[in-house]
């Protein structure tokens, strides 16, 4: 799973009826081979540091910054929804935030390096509201010399 047929009826109905935007343009950015990529994670799981403010859908409050040096014990999730299972994240943070895996890939030379900073948005929101903040985060990522973003849903 997840195949739509395997979801509960309520979840399936929600998934089928969720409005999805379409875009007139389809930007496509080319880049170097994978071994030269500096990769950042951008999650929509509502992740943040233990001491950070939780996500509360306050106006204008869209993302949190996660340093690459964060310890597993300091990353928590304030995306509250009955629609997804948290037990994977509870047992192993890489199920949702694959930072250890990326660091292993960087060490092995599979990717160039791992960004200094990663970001999390909170998925239970209308992502069309995120455009301005997403462009701002894109600028921050570029200052971190990131040239590949890994988007991870929950």
């Amino acid at each position: 799973m997840v195949r739509l047929a395997e979801l509960s009826e309520g979840q399936r109905r929600n998934a089928e009826n969720l409005p999805c935007p379409t875009f007139e343009t389809q930007p496509w950015v080319k880049g170097p081979p994978l071994s030269k990529r500096r990769v950042a994670i951008v999650s929509t799981a509502g992740l943040h540091g233990r001491d950070d403010r939780p996500f509360t859908r306050s106006a204008g409050d869209f993302y949190r910054i996660i340093p690459s040096t964060i310890n597993a014990g300091d990353l928590v999730m304030s995306h509250v929804s009955p629609n997804f299972d948290r037990s994977g994240f509870q047992q192993d943070w890489n199920v949702v935030f694959p930072i250890d895996l990326l660091k292993d890939f960087a060490q092995a030379g599979t990717i160039g390096s791992v960004a200094d900073f990663h970001y999390s948005f909170m998925g239970a929101d209308d992502p069309m509201r995120w455009e301005q903040q997403a462009r701002f985060v894109a600028d921050l990522l570029k200052k971190d010399k990131v040239n590949a973003v890994l988007l991870v849903p929950v």
């Binding site: 997840v2 928590v76 009955p82 037990s87 199920v95 895996l101 890939f105 570029k142 890994l150």
Partner: protein, 246 residues
């Protein structure tokens, strides 16, 4: 959608997709659909080799010559060869008949005992994993019990935090409480769980914590405070997804 915004700003993206239908409609530049449970974008916990296969497949899409590209990750998440876990509460607390106590008082007393009795298992879980996901509410386990019971007992719950609303603090406390129970029970020998279903069945059917949250749900659903009503409806709906034990 984030992919569109980032790519428009000059950053290449690749992503994991959990619901293929949405990705087909939105058409992000590069996406890898995975056949895993919602909440498990990289597959099952504690399976780094499998998770790396998923991650590498998503990253490899960055080298595609043109797009949009929506690839399928064909492998299912590995399933444990052990028989499905039948979770048993590591503690056995009963709602005691106490002279003069109301049903609510008996429920809350048993709930608080259950929380305390789970503590050694929770502490072991933290030691074993070196981390916990409990903590967004910033309440210690015993304080979670007190806060939740104040709703069940019909008292005007005092918000222990000044920086977020009472409703948000209740939502985070409920999630912290479930995480506390789940982390404790999965620390038992042989209780590695790769899916939410056995955990949810155990919690809602077999624990006093589940019964207490259902009681909170009923109180909140009828509350005059509109910010609490959706929390109440959500708790009742969550409990209802688990069929009662026959």
């Amino acid at each position: 959608m984030l992919a569109h915004f980032f790519e428009g700003a000059g950053l290449a993206t690749t992503q994991i997709s959990l619901i293929r239908l949405h990705t087909e409609k939105i058409k992000p530049p590069r996406a890898l659909w995975v056949p895993f449970e919602l909440g498990h974008p990289l597959g099952m916990p504690g399976a780094p080799l499998f998770q790396k296969k998923v991650l590498l497949a998503a990253l490899k899409l960055l080298e595609a010559a043109e797009g949009p590209i929506l690839a399928d990750f064909a492998e299912e998440a590995p399933v444990s060869s052990a028989p499905p876990a039948v979770l048993a509460c590591p503690v056995n607390i009963r709602i005691e008949a106490t002279d003069g106590a109301t049903e609510t008082e008996k429920l809350c007393a048993a709930f608080k005992s259950e929380i305390m009795s789970l503590r050694p298992w929770y502490d072991m879980a933290v030691k074993k994993r070196g981390r916990t996901t409990v903590g967004v509410s910033q309440l210690a386990p015993a304080a979670m019990g007190d806060f939740i019971c104040s709703f069940v007992e019909g008292n005007v719950a005092e918000n222990p935090r000044q920086d977020i609303s009472l409703a948000d603090e209740l939502r985070f406390t409920v999630e912290d409480l479930k995480a506390y129970y789940f982390e404790a029970v999965t620390a038992q020998p042989g209780m590695k769980v790769s899916s939410a279903r056995p955990l949810l069945s155990w919690f809602w059917r077999d624990t006093i914590g589940g019964k207490t949250l259902l009681a909170v749900g009923e109180v909140c659903a009828k509350s005059a405070d509109e910010s609490l009503q959706p929390i109440g409806r959500g708790l009742i709906a969550s409990a209802a997804t688990v069929s009662p034990r026959h």
